[in-house]
């Protein structure tokens, strides 16, 4: 079994890569690229100052000036815990006047030949120090030797990238002068590395030095950490799924078993009609109906449920459990308040799933009921209830386990719709918002998470399959 799980885990890697690549290149092919900005009304590249600044920012942050496949490798490298450190090459794009000044300012640079331009020289110097496996002391010596003195370094950096915003330049200069002052101790080496990366007008990526590093999901378009956004949204989606999945199975098992026990009876027929109807009901419609009839103050029966969100505005002040007393008599408490908010979304997520699951359960119970061992058990006088629950029931659970893997992706699609309708800030809404904003890092992170969850749930299904059915073996 362990070998099997290991092999499956390894097979997941190419699949996951494929998923990520598909989503990435679909987004890369979109007009306007990340953020979709920088296009004017005719769809041409906007050339005014604001647009240029945004464009440069995107290039620095996401490497959008690179070809799509390099961007993809850059992203992969950034996310992967094992990968290459990224280095930067300062773009060589200076005018003649600049070059003359640069040459003058950098005359002290030992490594730079006379015909090299300033950008290349600084880049070389920084990389030289930061990217060799040298002790911090050696690196400091090298860099100091190359740049001559701190003042010439600062004046050199002044020309590193005139496209940097004032704030960035400030940080860059401060970081570098400080690193000089401190003699490039270990910590500052990282700072120089990062600064040299920032200094690059465009993020030309060179994959240097393999390393084990912290995976980094990047920043959203608005500059927040992607991990932050995910850690806000994920618990909400997990909560929804934790409520939905057991509910689906509970209803499905109960209705399925009872429908099968009296197959062809009134309950079987009526539940069959109801379930196929439920299955076909589009979530968008049901959600909208619920909002309009159960969560609208304009109906004669008043507003029975909240229109959206997960908590009331004053949920923070509420006690956890309901209690009597207080200002308005009965106080609902945090728990009831949450359940009250969750009721409609959970119903919306559940009904389609249990409609399918219940039919599957009915079919497999029917199959099991006609099996030989059931006839034998009946013949030897086992109580019908025992036959049903301990002989038939356990044997008919297999298809439901198989179904779990198809329920999970369906639930993901469900949460996209339900969370949008009921304005719940879970993963589904995050995905839709990210798609609308063309926020690449956020979308990739959602895809990564969704892909991993989906693949792992498939693996868990197969493992459960083997546990539930002794005949199934993967070895």
């Amino acid at each position: 079994m362990t070998t099997y799980i290991l092999r499956r885990l390894m097979l997941m890697v190419p699949t996951l890569l494929g998923v990520l690549a598909v989503v990435f290149f679909v987004m890369a092919a979109a007009p306007g690229g990340v953020g979709g900005s920088g296009l004017d009304l005719e769809g041409a590249q906007n050339q005014d100052e604001d647009a240029k600044r945004v464009q440069r920012q995107m290039q620095r942050r996401y490497g959008t000036d690179l070809p799509a496949y390099q961007q993809f490798f850059r992203w992969m490298n950034q996310v992967s815990p094992v990968g290459f450190r990224m280095s930067a090459q300062v773009r060589a794009g200076y005018g003649d006047a600049d070059r003359a000044e640069a040459a003058a300012a950098l005359s002290g640079l030992a490594l730079a030949e006379r015909d090299r331009d300033l950008g290349a020289a600084v880049d070389l110097a920084l990389e030289f120090a930061a990217y060799r496996d040298q002790t911090p002391g050696e690196a400091a010596g090298e860099l100091a030797g190359v740049l001559g003195s701190a003042s010439s370094a600062v004046s050199a950096l002044h020309w590193v990238d005139s496209t940097l915003s004032p704030g960035d330049r400030e940080r860059l200069l401060a970081g570098l002068t400080q690193s000089y002052a401190n003699g490039l101790r270990n910590g500052q080496l990282a700072a120089v590395r990062e600064l040299s990366f920032e200094a690059a007008g465009a993020s030309r990526v060179r994959f240097d030095r393999p390393a084990v590093k912290m995976p980094d999901l990047g920043e959203t378009l608005k500059g927040r950490s992607v991990v932050d956004r995910l850690s806000e949204a994920l618990p909400i989606s997990i909560l929804l799924n934790l409520l939905t999945i057991p509910l689906i199975y509970l209803v499905a098992i109960v209705t399925g078993v009872y429908a099968a026990r009296r197959a062809g009876g009134a309950f079987d027929l009526s539940s069959g009609v109801v379930l196929i109807t439920l299955w076909c009901l589009p979530t968008i419609w049901v959600g909208q109906l619920m909002l309009q009839y159960l969560a609208s103050a304009q109906q004669p029966w008043g507003q029975l449920f909240p229109t959206g969100g997960l908590h009331s505005l004053r949920a923070e002040e509420l006690p956890f459990l309901p209690r009597w007393g207080g200002e308005d008599g009965f106080e609902a408490g945090w728990l009831l308040d949450s359940l009250w908010h969750l009721a409609l979304p959970v119903v919306c997520l559940t009904y389609g799933g249990f409609a399918v699951a219940s039919r599957v359960m009915r079919g497999s119970v029917l199959d099991a009921l006609s099996a030989d061992y059931v006839r034998t058990a009946r013949a030897k006088g086992v109580h019908p209830r025992v036959v049903l629950w301990s002989h038939v029931f356990r044997n008919s659970l297999l298809p439901l386990i198989t179904m779990a893997a198809s329920i999970l992706p369906a639930l993901f699609a469900g949460t996209v719709i339900v969370e949008t309708i009921f304005s719940i800030n879970g993963m589904g809404k995050l995905a839709v918002d990210a798609a609308f904003a063309k926020d690449r890092e956020l979308m990739m992170a959602v895809t990564l998470l969704g892909g991993i969850l989906g693949l792992i749930s498939e693996l868990i299904r197969d493992v459960c399959y083997a546990i539930a059915d002794p005949r199934v073996s993967y070895d």
């Binding site: 979109a30 007009p31 589009p282 909208q288 992706p409 993901f412 699609a413 719709i417 063309k438």
Partner: protein, 416 residues
Amino acid sequence: MTTTATQLGQADGGPDGSAPDSQTPNELREQKWLAAVGQRVLGQWGGRIGLVWVVLLSVIAVFAPFLASSHPLLMTKDGVTTSPLLEHLSAADVVLLVAFFAALLLWVVGLLRPVNAAFGGGSRAWVWVGVTLGAIVVCPLVMSPPPLTVLSQYREAEAAGELERVVFTVLPFSATDRQAERPTRDKSFRPPSARHPMGTTLSGADVMSRMIHATRVALAVGVIATGLSLVIGIAVGGMMGYFSGVVDLLGMRLVEVFSAIPVLFLLIIIVATRDERNIYLMMTVIGLLSWVGYALYIRAEFLKLRQADYVQAARAVGVSVPGILFRHLLPNGVTPVLVLASFGVASAILYESTLSFLGLGLVDEPSWGGLLNEARKAGTHWGLVWFPGLAIFLTVFALNLVGDALREALDPRSVK
């Protein structure tokens, strides 16, 4: 019903000697079998109801301009009688009409016994495909409908008494008719009334008219997207099943990748990141993303069939690979996929309406999901949540019923 399912599974099994007239035994058997399946589908209540609804929708879709249009059917002005409706028919309208009437004609022709004997069902289908494709090519070239007109001009002319005679369609509003002639130009929903049986949208377009014209979008997306995914699924699955080995291994990875991506999510990404949305993009994307089920099914069938005696025999005789694939494997392996395709149409329609509901649908084109989206706005009326919702539900329901009936009809175990 004399044909049994085991016979059905082997159309190439050899002549059974009972073939009359000019038809080859295979053709006859296929026809008999199709008729048997059709009868079995129609023999079930579910299939009957589902098919009636689908046919009704198709008729509505084909005749949409004649059911709801702001252009009058007939108009007499200054003694000259014209038909603005016919003048303003678009190429798509005409193609649909041609396809519809060609199908009707060929069906009627098929009922005549002598013609049927000489002119088999298969060739009639090809004639229909040819006529339709011809119409698709010719109509946009030949036709030049007048540029966009002011849709309210006819109503205004009628109100001013300039027209001697005017005959409107049953519902005298086009889907994009915003009825700007009204004195109050306030933006507001109007609830269902005698003038607007299903009310209006926020911008003043008639909901019923939009519902009617939206059947086109729904059916077109459903059918064409499913057709595309069928083609891809059959191609990929067939190659995997027939060649197995490395092709199978690579194909399975592809299948895994596409089944690990939530379709709706990728759809949203693709549609949201494109500035320009049109129905073709939507069809293509839905088609490109939902072929996995068909591929797996065909692969399993082909893996089974390639060991069958008649395939081995064909290979031994030296039939080429395309010959084996298209003449022997495909006709025998493809029918069960039709069941899946019927569910596929339903889910493609659901995808389209979900996208429109999320505000990612076609711009200005009517769509059921788009109408449901209107129901989210403030000041909406009950018609906007009930009618489009019911339409989506009934269509999905009908297609599922048809799919179920097809499955029953094709299931050898259910043959009595």
